[in-house]
Symmetry: C3
Subunit: 415 residues, 3 copies
C-alpha cells in the first residue's frame, strides 16, 4: 500500500470515500490533486433534502480539481462479484464534461452502464438514491393499512361485539381468523376499485377539456403513477383472503361445529339437511372467486419487471386494462354472490350497521358504471379522437416524439 501523497501524485483519477466532516484531513493533498479528477463515492447516512451534497462540499474544498459524483449506488457486493447481473447502472454527474467522459470510459471498461445525470447540482439526488426506502409504496401501503383497520373494527363490532353485548355469545375466538378473513377481501376489492378510478377520472377530464395535451392535476398524476402499487396491495390482500379461506376447514372450531351439527341432526331425526339454495350460492361464489383470483395472478405476474419487458405496449394494455376490468367485474360478482339476498334481510343490520359487503360494493359499482358510460358510442368515439390527438396531428414536431407513440400515450391514461 502506498501513502496518500504518493498515490495522489501518481494517479490522474482519485476515488474519494471520505465523509465531508473529514475533508480537512485531505488538506496536504491539495497541491497534488490540483487539475485531477476526483470521483466522490461517499454516501450520506440519512436523506439530505436541502443540500449541499457531499460532492458539492468536496468541489468547494478542491476548487482546482474536477469533481465527479458517482459509483455510490453500486454496492460493495456488486463491485466484488462483478456487474454480471443487475445493478449495472452507474449514475454520474459533474460540472466538467471532460472529467465525466473519463469516468464514463472507466465505467464501460468495468462493464457498468454510465447514466449521465448532468451538472454537479444533481449530486444531491444521486446521493439520496441509495437511501430511499420504497417511496412509491408509502401511500398505497398507508391506504391499505387504513382500510384494513377501518374494516377490521367495523367487522369486529358487527360479528364479535354485537353478539356478545346483545346475546352474551362469546365469539372472541373469531378475532384472529374469521374477522380478518372478512376484512381482507373488503380491502382487496376497494383497493382494486381505487386502481381503476383514476383512469376513469382522467378519461372524464380529457373529454371535458377536449384535448390530451393538458397536464392532469397533480393529485391525479400521482394517483395514476401509483396504480401498480395499489394493484399489488390489492392482490396481496386477495391472496391472503384465499389462504385464510382455505384454512377455515382446518380449524378445530370448524370441526367442533360440524360434529355438533351432526349431533343436532341426529337428535332432530332429520334424514337429509341439504338446502339447495345455500349449496348453489356457495358453489357459485367460490367458483367466481377463484376466477377473479386467477385473473389477479395474471396481472401480478405481468407486472414483474422481466415479464413486463418482454411484452409490447398493446399486450401490456390488454392485460392491465381489459383483463384488469374483468378481474374487477369478477371480484364484484363474487361479492354480490356472497351477499346473495342478505342486503335485504333486516336481521343483518346489527347495531344498524349494514353488512360489510354493502359498504364495499359502492366504489367498484361506481367504477364499473362510469366505465360502462364511457363505452357508450358518442362518449367512446369522442374519447378515441381526443386520445389519438387527431386535431393536432397536422403538425410536425421537431422535439422528441412524445406524440409519435399514439398508442402509447393514449393508453397511459387508459389502462
Amino acid at each position: 500500500v502506498t501513502t496518500q501523497l504518493e498515490a495522489a501524485n501518481k494517479a490522474d483519477l482519485c476515488f474519494i470515500a471520505v465523509y465531508p466532516e473529514h475533508h480537512s484531513t485531505l488538506v496536504e493533498l491539495k497541491p497534488a490533486l490540483a487539475g485531477k479528477t476526483l470521483v466522490d463515492v461517499s454516501n450520506s447516512l440519512r436523506i439530505n433534502q436541502n443540500g449541499p451534497s457531499n460532492a458539492e462540499l468536496l468541489a468547494d474544498y478542491f476548487p482546482e480539481s474536477s469533481v465527479v459524483k458517482g459509483f455510490n449506488t453500486i454496492s460493495a457486493w456488486t463491485l466484488q462479484m462483478g456487474p454480471r447481473d443487475g445493478g449495472r447502472q452507474v449514475f454520474l454527474c459533474s460540472n466538467s464534461q471532460k472529467a465525466k467522459n473519463t469516468v464514463k470510459a472507466v465505467c464501460h471498461r468495468m462493464g457498468f452502464i454510465p447514466i449521465d445525470m448532468g451538472l454537479l447540482s444533481s449530486s444531491l439526488e444521486i446521493e439520496n438514491l441509495p437511501l430511499y426506502l420504497f417511496p412509491s409504496w408509502r401511500l398505497p401501503l398507508l391506504c391499505t393499512l387504513f382500510l384494513f383497520i377501518f374494516f377490521y373494527l367495523y367487522n369486529f363490532f358487527r360479528d364479535v361485539l354485537q353478539p356478545y353485548v346483545m346475546e352474551g355469545k362469546k365469539a372472541f375466538y373469531k378475532m384472529p381468523i374469521e374477522v380478518v378473513n372478512v376484512t381482507l377481501p373488503s380491502v382487496a376489492l376497494v383497493m382494486l376499485a381505487l386502481v381503476y378510478l383514476p383512469g376513469v377520472f382522467a378519461a372524464i377530464l380529457q373529454l371535458w377539456s377536449g384535448t390530451k395535451y393538458n397536464r392532469f392535476p397533480n393529485w391525479l398524476d400521482r394517483w395514476l403513477t401509483s396504480r401498480k402499487q395499489l394493484g399489488l396491495c390489492s392482490f396481496l390482500c386477495a391472496v391472503l383472503h384465499a389462504v385464510y379461506s382455505l384454512c377455515l376447514p382446518l380449524r378445530k372450531s370448524a370441526r367442533f361445529k360440524l360434529v355438533n351439527m351432526a349431533y343436532k341432526q341426529v337428535k332432530a331425526g332429520v334424514d337429509d339437511s341439504w338446502v339447495d339454495e345455500e349449496v348453489w350460492r356457495m358453489e357459485l361464489y367460490l367458483s367466481v372467486g377463484i376466477m377473479a383470483l386467477g385473473l389477479l395472478c395474471l396481472l401480478a405476474v405481468t407486472s414483474l419487471p422481466s415479464v413486463a419487458n418482454t411484452i409490447n405496449w398493446r399486450e401490456f394494455s390488454f392485460i392491465q386494462s381489459t383483463l384488469g376490468y374483468c378481474a374487477l367485474f369478477m371480484a364484484t360478482a363474487h361479492t354480490l354472490l356472497y351477499g346473495w339476498n342478505r342486503a335485504f334481510d333486516l336481521r343483518q343490520y346489527r347495531f344498524n350497521m349494514p353488512p360489510t359487503f354493502v359498504l364495499v360494493l359502492v366504489l367498484p359499482f361506481l367504477v364499473l358504471l362510469s366505465r360502462l358510460a364511457l363505452c357508450v358510442p358518442c362518449a367512446a368515439g369522442r374519447l378515441r379522437k381526443v386520445r389519438r390527438g387527431w386535431e393536432r396531428s397536422r403538425h410536425i414536431r421537431f422535439t422528441l416524439p412524445a406524440e409519435g407513440c399514439h398508442n402509447g400515450l393514449e393508453d397511459v391514461s387508459n389502462v
Copy 2:
C-alpha cells in the same frame, strides 16, 4: 414553440409523427427537408400485412431525404421516465447507412440500445411490432380452450346428465366446481404430454434421417417453439385444479354430505366406518399430486425471463428436460392412483363412456413409453452421436458457430 418551417430549416434530424394520410400537409417543408434525416416514429392503428409501411410512404413522398424508421416501439411512458429499466431496445432500419448511424448515436446518448434491422423494407415488421397481441400464445390458448370444452362436456354427460337421465338424481350443483375440477387436471395432463411429444418426434426424425442438420418440417418447428407456452398453460390448469380441490371441503355441499354421512352411520349403528383401501388411495394420490405440482412450479419459475437468464444451458436443460419428465411421470402416477382400479369397474362406464382418466392417460403413456424406448442403449447411443454431429465435426465451419455449441444445439430438440 417554433413554426414548422423554422424548425425544419434549423434541424438536421427531424422526428415525423404524422399518419400517411396527412403527409400531404408537409408539402411546403419539402425543400427545407431535402438532404436531411427524417425519423418516422408513427404507428399504424391495425396490423398491416401487405405494405407499404408508413415509413416507405414517407420515403416516397420525400425522395431527397433519408428516412429512418424507429422509436415507434418505445412508449411515451418510457420516454418520459427515461430508459432506466426495461424496454431499452430501439429497432431501426433505413436505406441510408449514414442516416442510420446518426440515429444510432442519438439512441446511445439517450440510453437506449439500437438494434439494426437492415433496409427500409423491414419497416413494415417494425411498425407491426407494437400491434401484436400475444402471437405465440394463440395456438396454445386455443388448444387449451378446445381441450377444456371437450373434457367439460364429456364430464358433464357422465357426472351430471347420466345420473339425471337414468336415476333422476339432480346433481346440477356440480357444474360450477366439481365438473370443472375433473376437467382441469385432464387438460393439464394432456397439455403437459403435448409439451414433450414434439421432442420425441424430433428425436425419432433425427434417428431416421441420421443427421441433425436437416430442418424439421414446419409444423414440428412451430410446435417445438411453442412448448414454453403449452407448458405454462398446463401449469395454469394444474394450479387452478389445486385451488379448486382445496376449496372442496369449504363448500356447503361437502358439509351437508358429511353430516348426512354421520347421520347414516348413527342410524346404522356402525362403530367405525374406516376403509383402509380408500384411505391409502387418497393419501397416496394427494401426496404424489403435490409433488407433481411442486415440480411444475419449479419449471414455471425457471421460465421467468430473469431467472432463465441467470442459468446456463445445461441447467436450463436439466430443469426443463429431466425435471420436466419427472413432473410428467408424477402427474401420470397421480392420475393412475386416482383411478386406482376403477378402469376395470364396469359401473364406471356410464353411457358406455369410459372414466375420464382413461382417456387422459393415453397421450402421457405414449410419451413416457417412447421416451423410455429412446433410452434403450442402441437408440440412445446413436441419438447421442447424431446430436453431437460427430460425422460432420471434421470440418471447420467459417460461418457462425451454429455447431460450436454442441450442448446447445443437441438440447434444442432434446428438452
Copy 3:
C-alpha cells in the same frame, strides 16, 4: 458452401468448432491460417478441472495464429433467435489484445455484450461455465435433504412406529402425508435459522476483532454467500408445508375421523364438544403461520433477479434483514403456539424422544437471542462504528471504492 481451404484463405476471422482430438484434421490449413484470428467456440463434454483447455490446445497447434476463446456460452438457440432477450453476455479471453478487440467489435455488431476475462489462461474457466449444474445450490440442497431425512425418521419413530410397537395401532397411512407435513415445517424453520446464523457469527467476529477489514474465515464466507439459496430452500419447504396442511381436510381419513367423532358424541350424548383452549390454540397458530408464510413470500419475490435489480441496497437490506427477522420471529411463534404446553406433558415423550418442535426450536431461539444481544446499546454502538469503518476513514483510497459504499459493505454482513 466453400471448401475449408478457400474459406481459410479469404477470411480474417475463423470460428473453430472442432474437438481437440480432431485438431490434426486441420493440419493442411496451417499456412492459410497463420497470422489470422481463430475463435475457439468448442465446448467440452465434461468439466475439465486441470487443463489444458481446448483453446490452449488449439493455440499450441496454431502458434502463428491468435486464438480467442468465446461464444461457447451462447446457445444455438440464442444465435438463431438473436440476442434480444437474455443471455447477451459473451465471455472472451485471449493472449492477443488486438485479436480480442476484433472479436469484441463483432460481438457489439451482433448485439452481444463482450465481457473481457483476460488472458487465454482463463479459457478453462470459460469452457467450464456452460457445464456447471447449480454449483451454488449443492450445499443448501444437501443440507435440506439431510435435515428432511433426519426429521422424517424421527417423526416416523415417534408417530408411526411407537404406537404400533406399544399399542399395536396401525398408523402407517400417515407416512405419505401426515409425517411429511410434520417434517417439512421443521426443515423450513431450521433452514431459516441457518440463513441468519452466519450474520450473527460475522457480527460477533467483527466485534471481537474490532475491524471490518479482516477477511472472514473461508467457511463463514461460503455460508454467507449461500444464504439466498438456504432461504429459498426454507421457503420451498414452508410452501409445501402450507399445501400439505391445506390438503389435510380433503383426505378420506379426515372425513372418517370426523364422522366417527360425531358417532361417538351421539353415543355419549354430549350436547356440545367445544373446547375453548383447543380452539384458541389452533386459531392463533394458523393465523401466525399465515403471516410468517406471507413474509417469506415477500422475501422470495424480492430475490427474483428482476425485482432485486429495481430496488436499492437500503430497500434490499430492509427486506432481507428486517422483514427476514420478522419472518423468523413469526415462524418461531407459530411453532411455539403449535407446541402450546405439550413440551411439559410427559406423555409426549414417547420412546424418551421429545416432541419434534422442541428440537426444532433450539436454533431459531439461539439466533433470535444473539440478535437481541447485539441490539443492546453498547454492542450495537460499537458494531455500528466498526461497520462504518470509522477509525480508518481518514485515508484516501486510490483503489476502487471498496469503502465508498459504507451502507453497502456494512450490510453485506448485516443482512
